[in-house]
């Protein structure tokens, strides 16, 4: 049966190997059209060539380079205000700007060149500008400082200048004052600069004074000099301390604040800075101080010594700033003009280059027939899409006005040509397909578990997440995403990672939420509160601490259960009772086993469908049947006794009268069945003939193991030997050597046997461990119920019982936070992962024979080429 009767998602599409021939001139447009169609996967016909040897590797490299330039331009645009990227002008093949790739390359290069130059210039200018600003600050502060400092100087030197010679007395007094302060500083353990010091430290005064060589009592005066500059404010105190220590206190430091921040010319960062002035004497100290300045990244500026030149320098400085500002403005406007032009087109360019790069990559996979100037491509495409491919070829040819018609020719599939697996999915099914394929891709035309996953996955999730309230929240969230599908689709990649994941999984989440509401009704939990829809069937009486059924309470002391139990889900009486947890656990464990066995048996049945589809009778008779027997003899029987125990009324009068009638422990029954076959203790009897049936099932399960193990490899070997015998006969008739069998591989019995052995062991051990693994359904559901219970109890009930309205408010908001953060987010994530595992391991390994080593169909599409290298 080659036709897909039940829909394409059940089995992968029929694939055909097709050879395409097209003219060299039509190559570009043809590949473009095929990329637009997105239904062909190109086979690599140049596998023996490295990436560099291929014909179009140079073009690919150039495209790469152009993308680099485009990225540079985009970064430049993003760093500029008021510029946004205009959307791409491509709306399909043949649309969009019609420029040649070479022209674009040249244009991009010149753009990059001019931008780099402009940025370099702008940087140099801004460094100069920042330096000038710092210089201005230094000059202003220095002038201010010198002007305000000298009180004595006013009397001694009314007209300062290099030529002016202040009176000697004043001069010596001044120097002595400075030196005095310096020595005072050297005594002081902490350095405190007193702004109100009344000494004159004007360099004029110094220089004029020091200039007078031979002045009495001023031996070092000729060597006194100073540095001015700027330094980070946070480094001020350590700078001062280091200077003080390095010069043994023989220096004098002053700082002046700059209101506001300055841009550092070196790093281009905004910093808090101060102007400093250091006075010192001696050339040795000078070199020390200069090194310290460098070490502290202090920028030094030369300040003229007299007031007049200071003023001139300041004026110069201001004019220069104005000039620089003008230049900067012009450069910036030119640059943004260029970038504005680029921003209109850059996305179109990107798309164009990426498309062409994809096309060159594809062309590299093709053969070129030099004599006919034809390209030859081998492609996989779905059988149903052949006409579309033919159509695309024709459009491509017409677009490029090529004379030679393009040809499509179906090729026979060689023994090594394994067709890729292709499932046609839609927006609803794709997420389920990807859930399945994260584990492994089905082989070509192997049965696809995704359709089953659509229901079983959300359902198993819900078993672990059963709560009406939480289910409703989840459903609303998913419904919101589904409703605003168009909006989120348009957002595309701009959604956050987390949001994107949720959006991609919106339909799973929706189903998970809906099923959680249902399982919530069964567990009877609404935010951990049981709801009493149908009226509890239990009532507490004065006679006993235990409740009795409302319709069966003639003698309250006998505490008989209700004749008609609560119709949907658990009776609300259980939740608040002491025995509730035991009762729920017993149920959830049994439910896990029942669901698990059902799902695993379904998985084994799928392996039957595979075997039948590939016409492998051996696999049906010697793998599927013994597997079914083994699984059902043990765990099918377990499910049977679970159900039987539920049906048995151990409360009935007859049972109470009979000493042998007690509820058996099901685990012991199952273990005893294998440990002591044929020997059933009286307290484990559940139905007549149980001993015989158990003995029979044990024997069946034991026989099933060698049945799985031996026949298949032996039969395969016998078949192979037979075939070889025939082939030898054939060899005698025809002289041509024909050494391989029709599978194209030699037969290795050892390998086949080991493989079968692994498979058997895996199944037998797996049957036990997988069944146990389903108990995670119970564990997770218990954890969920207990957590929400604790949150409710502690945060809501606890705060309400305190009677304080503020505590109630806080408790409520904490409960909301815990519900959303812990239960809705973390707990749902863990339930999701466990459901995932149950599907990947426990379900899929029952029929994915080779653990899903199929090859996924990866058609060439423009979208995939566009998304490739986005970081």
């Amino acid at each position: 049966m080659r036709t897909n009767k039940v829909g394409t998602l059940f089995r992968s599409e029929d694939m055909v190997l097709v050879r395409l021939y097209f003219d060299r001139a039509a190559a570009h447009d043809t590949i473009d059209e095929l990329g637009e169609l997105g239904l062909v996967q190109f086979k690599d016909l140049n596998e023996n060539q490295s990436a560099f040897q291929r014909t179009f590797s140079e073009n690919v490299r150039r495209c790469d380079d152009m993308l680099r330039v485009i990225r540079y331009l985009t970064d430049q645009i993003k760093g500029t205000d008021h510029l946004t990227l205009a959307p791409s002008a491509f709306h399909g093949p043949g649309t969009g700007p019609t420029f040649r790739l070479d022209d674009l390359d040249g244009h991009l290069n010149s753009l990059e060149h001019s931008l780099l130059e402009m940025n370099g210039n702008a940087e140099a200018i801004s460094t100069q500008y920042n330096e000038t600003i710092e210089l201005r600050c230094v000059l202003e502060r220095a002038a201010e400082f010198f002007r305000s400092a000298p009180r004595m100087r006013n009397s001694s030197s009314p007209s300062p200048g290099p030529g002016a010679r202040p009176q000697r007395g004043g001069r010596s007094g001044l120097i002595a004052g400075v030196m005095g302060e310096i020595s005072a500083l050297s005594d002081a353990p902490t350095i405190v600069v007193d702004d109100e010091s009344d000494i004159d430290v004007s360099p004029n005064a110094f220089n004029s004074g020091f200039g007078a060589a031979g002045d009495s009592g001023l031996r070092m005066s000729s060597m006194l000099s100073f540095f001015t500059g700027t330094i980070d404010r946070e480094k001020m105190s350590s700078f001062e301390r280091v200077l003080f220590r390095a010069t043994h206190g023989n220096c004098f430091v002053r700082f002046a604040d700059i209101g506001g921040k300055l841009v550092d010319p070196e790093s281009g960062e905004e910093r808090d800075k101060s102007v400093f002035m250091v006075f010192f004497s001696g050339s040795a100290v000078k070199s020390k101080v200069s090194k310290i300045c460098d070490a502290f990244n202090a920028n030094r500026y030369v300040v003229p010594e007299d007031h007049a030149s200071q003023m001139t320098a300041l004026t110069h400085c201001r004019t220069r700033l104005a000039d620089l500002e003008a230049i900067m403005e012009t450069t910036a406007s030119q640059r943004s003009e260029i970038l504005r032009g680029v921003s209109q087109q850059v996305l179109s360019w990107t798309e164009k280059v990426k498309r062409d790069m994809g096309i060159f990559h594809t062309l590299n996979l093709l053969n070129y027939d030099t004599s006919h100037q034809l390209f030859i491509a081998d492609v996989w495409c779905p059988e149903s899409a052949q006409d579309d491919v033919r159509n695309a070829l024709e459009i491509g040819r017409r677009r490029s006005n090529a004379q030679v018609p393009s040809v499509l020719e179906e090729r026979p599939r060689g023994p090594k040509d394994v067709p890729p697996t292709y499932f046609k999915t839609n927006k609803f099914t794709e997420v389920f397909q990807s859930i399945v394929e994260s584990y492994g891709v089905a082989k070509y035309q192997e049965v696809n578990p995704a359709p089953f996953t659509i229901i079983t996955f959300p359902f198993l999730f819900a078993v672990m997440f059963g709560d009406i309230g939480h289910g409703i929240l989840m459903t609303l969230f998913a419904a919101y995403l589904v409703r605003n599908e168009r909006h989120y689709n348009a957002l595309g990649k701009r959604m956050g990672e987390m949001m994107k994941t949720c959006y991609d999984g919106r339909y799973v989440i929706l189903l998970m939420g809906i099923f959680s509401i249902y399982t919530g009704f069964i567990y009877n939990e609404f935010f951990a509160v049981p709801i009493d829809i149908f009226g509890s069937r239990w009532k507490y009486t004065a006679e006993s601490e235990m409740a009795c059924g409302i319709d069966n309470c003639v003698n309250p002391a006998s505490v008989l259960p209700p004749l008609a139990p609560y119709p949907l889900g658990f009776d609300p009486a259980w939740k608040s009772s002491k025995t509730g947890l035991i009762f729920f656990n017993s149920y959830k464990m049994k439910l896990s086993i029942v669901l698990g066995v059902c799902q695993m048996v379904m998985g084994i049945c799928l392996s039957y469908r595979n075997a039948k589809f590939f016409k492998q009778r051996i696999d049906i008779i010697h793998v599927f049947i013994p597997q079914m027997i083994f699984m059902n003899a043990i765990f099918g029987y377990l499910v049977f006794i679970i159900i039987l125990k539920w049906f048995t009324d151990y409360n009935s009068a007859e049972c109470i009268a009979d000493p042998n009638c007690s509820p058996p422990d099901l685990k012991s029954v199952l273990i005893g069945m294998f440990m002591s076959p044929g020997n059933l203790p009286a307290d484990m009897v559940m139905f007549p003939g149980q001993n015989t049936i158990q003995l029979f099932l044990t024997i069946a399960a034991v026989i099933a193991v060698p049945w799985m193990l031996f026949p298949k490899p032996l039969i395969l070997r016998a078949r192979h030997n037979n075939r070889k015998r025939y082939m030898r006969l054939a060899d005698d008739e025809h002289s041509t050597p024909y050494d391989d069998d029709d599978n194209g591989e030699p037969f290795d019995f050892g390998e086949v046997f080991v493989h079968q052995m692994i498979h058997t062991i895996e199944f037998v051990l797996g049957a036990v461990s997988n069944t146990a693994s389903y108990l995670r359904l119970w564990a997770l559901s218990l954890a969920h119920a207990e957590l929400s219970d604790v949150f409710l109890e502690k945060l809501i009930y606890g705060s309400v019982s305190s009677g304080n309205p503020i505590a109630m408010m806080i408790g409520f908001f904490m409960w909301v936070g815990a519900t959303l953060g812990v239960l809705m987010f973390m707990e749902s994530l863990s339930a999701f992962l466990h459901a995932l595992r149950l599907h990947w391991v426990e379900f899929q390994n029952k029929f994915y024979l080779l653990h899903g080593d199929g090859k996924k169909f990866e058609p060439y599409t423009h979208t995939s080429a566009e998304e490739d290298d986005d970081p």
Binding site: G7, L9, I455, A547, P565, F570, S577, F583, L591, V594
Partner: protein, 71 residues
Amino acid sequence: MGALFTGTVIFLVLGLLAYFVVSAIYRNDKDAQGLGQLSVVLATVCMYIMWATCFLHQLHPLVRPIKEGAH
């Protein structure tokens, strides 16, 4: 026991109804129809198992609710 039977019938009826509704909705799309039918069957079976086991578990309970706070 009567309730178990009634419940089973209800699930059966609802399942069949959903089956026919899905088949009718997707009558022009065989792929979607197959998927829909499978989903309805699986969902009905899963939900039925859940309900029926829960009902059976309470039919002949081996423990009784005990008042919280009692010894």
